[in-house]
Structure formats: C-alpha cells, structure tokens
Amino acid sequence: MLELRIAGRDFGQPVLGEVFVNITRGDRICLLGPSGIGKTTLLNVIAGLDTSIPDGAVVGRDKLRIGYLFQEHRLLPWRTLCANLMLVGVSEREAETCLAQVGLPGYGQYLPDQLSLGMARRAALARCLAVRPDLLLLDEPFASLDPMMADELRTLIAGILDANPSMAMICVTHDGVDAEMLANRLWYLDGKPARLKWNDELGGPGVVTDLLGKLRKCELADS
C-alpha cells in the first residue's frame, strides 16, 4: 500500500541514505536504531512533513489516512480533548468513543494540560484513531512513561492492531521488548548516512534480540 523510494535526506550533512522499501496492510513494523540516527526523520518523510522530499518518493500516501502519534502529545492546549479530536473531522459522540477506547471515558471536557503525561499520550492516540488510519505512525510511544503505564499502553496498542488487521503500523522504539510484543517486521537504521536494514520473519519471543544482534552486525540484510 505504500512504497518508499527515498533517495536520501540532508541536513547540511547527509543523515538518511537511500531507503527503498514497501509497506503492506497488516504490517506491524518496529523501527529501531541508535539515537539521532534519523528514525523520526524517516517518520516525518513518510507522513509528508518533510517538504524537501519530492512527493513521488512516497508512493501511495495520497490514498492513505495517517495517524501520527508524536513524541509530545501536540494537542492544542487551548482546546478540550473533545474539541481537539473534532478538529480532525469527527462528531462529538465519535470523539467520546475514541477517548473511551484509549481508557479516557468522560474526559472530553478536560484540557490537555490537566492530564498526566501518560493520559495526554493516550488522548493523542485517540486522535490518531479518530481519523480511522490506514497507517499508524508512533514515535517512541513508551518513552518517559513509568513501566506500568508503558505496559498498559503497549497492551492497548496491541489490542487496537489486533482489532484492525488491515491497519499498518510503524513504531519507533529503543526497546526490543516493544518489538516482541507489537511487531511482525523489524526495521533497523544504522550507519552514516543511515541505511535501512530489515527482517520480515519475526516469530516467537526471544527472537527479536537475536535478530537485532544480527541486523546490527550485517552489512545489509534482505528479507
């Protein structure tokens, strides 16, 4: 459903190298790699936020609805949760439903700054769901949450993916555990400029760590 033909991305010096890869419905991709390697840059390119990348580099995006969970909640702080969700084109009822789906029932009239970090992130996730996305982009969804909240959110996201088998997901993370629980494909960014290595055969717990080790070592792994 989506085909990346990215020639590279410079910020003064080359950050991202060539990225040629396909994403199909039902893909649950975890994108790993060292800090500052360009994982968020790649997500922004896929979401169409990077204006220096020609439109033709991401084939098929126009037909997709994308939900992007940024690292910060990026809800409008001057609008209630309900109003924030309604801005992406849903009714008040649907907004309340989406909030209930992420475990925030009845929170529609709260302002984003009245919520804890974990709650605000779930509210932002509710906004992603409100657009009924074909592709869900998650940028470190579990970062700076305490372990229990991170667990809850992981279970929540896994449940959402199971309920929507045609939805694709790309999740940036540092943690192999996330990949084991959520992913059926593994992407690994490495090198300078960063190249994308990937592995499509994920099965069973414990595999991810091994695969990660292999991906780190190998020059360029093909599926």
Binding site: Y68, F70, E72, V88, D113, M119
Partner: protein, 258 residues
C-alpha cells in the same frame, strides 16, 4: 504577587491619586491664577460641557476616529506581520519600509496627508493608520516567528484547512502579541488622533483643546483631558481586561489527576 512584579496593589491608586488632587487644589488655591484652576473649577467645566452636550459630541467624534483607525491599523498590521514572520522574502522586502515608517515622526505623516488630500476625514484617518501599522506589524511579526513548528506539523498531518490553522493554531499563539499591539496601539492612536483633530478637523477632543488653547482656557483643557482619561480607562477595564482573562483561561487549568 511579589512587590517587584505585576500591578501595584489597588489601594495605591486610592491613596496616590486623591493626594495628588488635594495637593493640586491647595496649590491652585494659593496661586489664584486663571492659568491653574482648582479641581472644583475643572469639575464644574466638565459638568457644563456635559450638560450642553458638547463633551459627548466631541468625545464621540474622537472615539469614532479611534475605532475606525484602530480597526484598520490592527487588520493591516496583523496581516503584514504574519506574512513577514512566515516568509523571509517578504520580510526582506518590507523590513526597510518598516524601519523608514517607524522612524517617521507622526506629525510629518499628518501634515503630508492633509497637504496631499486636503483637510478631510479620510486624510485624518489615513494619517493615524500609517503611523500605527508599522508598530502592529513589528509586534505581530515576533509572534509569527515564534509559532510552534510542532503544532504546524500536527496541523499538516491532520489536514487542517487554512481557516482551522488560522483560528485554532495561529490566533491562540499570537494572542499575547495581538494584545500587546492593541494596548500599545490604543494609547498611541488616542494621542495621534488628538493631534490630527487639532491640526485639521472641526470636531473631536483635539479640536476642543485647540479652541481652549487659543483663549488659554486651562479649565476646559483639563476637563477634556480628564474625560478622555476616564474613557480610556473604561475601555481597558470593560473590554481589554475581560477579553484577556477569557482568552488566558486555558493557561491555568487545575490538575485533574494525581
């Protein structure tokens, strides 16, 4: 509130201002000069002018000019400021003009407008607008430059329309700058409008001050100034402060969790 920041406590106004009036009264009573009337004389003049309707007519004329000039200047200045803040090219084109206009004395603009267009209402209002637009533009430009790119990205991902982006994303962020431009704008426009009226109109507070000046009627000058100050404070208290409170409500939400 600490002593160093924010507004002084309310009682200071109720002490300092009456003390000033008393001091002025005593001084004027000793001097017994028509050039410094007592507060009571000023109040009396104010009553007379108010009863004859003169005060209201001229205050109204000034207020109308201020309202029109202010609206125009805020609108034009905001548009220019946003465009300059968002586009380097536009900024490069307009910035030299801003520097020029910011340093042009208000009096020059007024005289030129009257010379070129005649002593008409349009020239009067235009002169005020031209004086004010650069200030608004500079203030709003600062705001437009500091717009949060993270919210811009969010608005792009979620396909906000132009109108939604302006109303929901930009205006709330620009609001403090718009308020600053409004405050600074009103106080500047009041003063310029008076000069404009003094030089070339036959109505308004400025015109009345002109007449009073010609006959050295200090009581009338002070009476009109007083009425004027009261109106400005009324607008501040009745319009600006409630507006600001309303728009800043989201900034101090009570925590729902914990």
């Amino acid at each position: 509130m600490t002593a160093r920041t924010g507004r002084p406590p309310a009682w200071s106004y109720w002490v300092v201002l009456p003390l000033f009036v008393v001091f002025w009264g005593v001084f004027a009573w000793f001097l017994r000069s028509p050039l410094l009337p007592t507060p009571l004389q000023v109040l009396e003049t104010l009553m007379v002018e108010s009863a004859s309707g003169q005060l209201w007519y001229h205050l109204g004329a000034t207020l109308a000019r201020v309202a029109v000039a202010f609206t125009l200047a805020m609108f034009v200045g905001t548009v220019i400021g946003i465009v300059m803040g968002r586009s380097r090219t536009t900024n490069a084109l307009f910035d030299p003009m801003l520097v020029l206009l910011l340093n042009l004395p208000a009096l020059v603009t007024i005289i030129l407008m009257y010379v070129w267009f005649g002593l008409i209402e349009l020239a009067a209002v235009m002169a005020v607008v031209i004086n004010k637009v650069p200030n608004v533009a500079v203030t709003v430009r600062e705001g437009a430059r500091s717009l949060d790119y993270r919210l811009e990205q969010m608005a792009t991902v979620y396909d906000f329309t132009r109108w939604q982006r302006l109303r929901e994303v930009w205006v709330p962020q620009l609001f403090p700058y718009l308020m600053a431009a409004t405050r600074g704008g009103l106080s500047l426009i009041w003063k310029i409008v008076l000069v404009v009226e003094l030089l070339g109109r036959s109505s308004g507070v400025g015109f009345q001050l002109h007449l009073a000046f010609q006959v050295f009627d200090v009581a009338a000058i002070l009476a009109y100034s007083l009425a004027f100050i009261l109106v400005v404070q009324l607008i501040e208290l009745a319009i600006l402060q409630p507006l600001e409170r309303r728009s800043n409500r989201w900034r101090q939400p009570e925590m729902a969790h914990a």
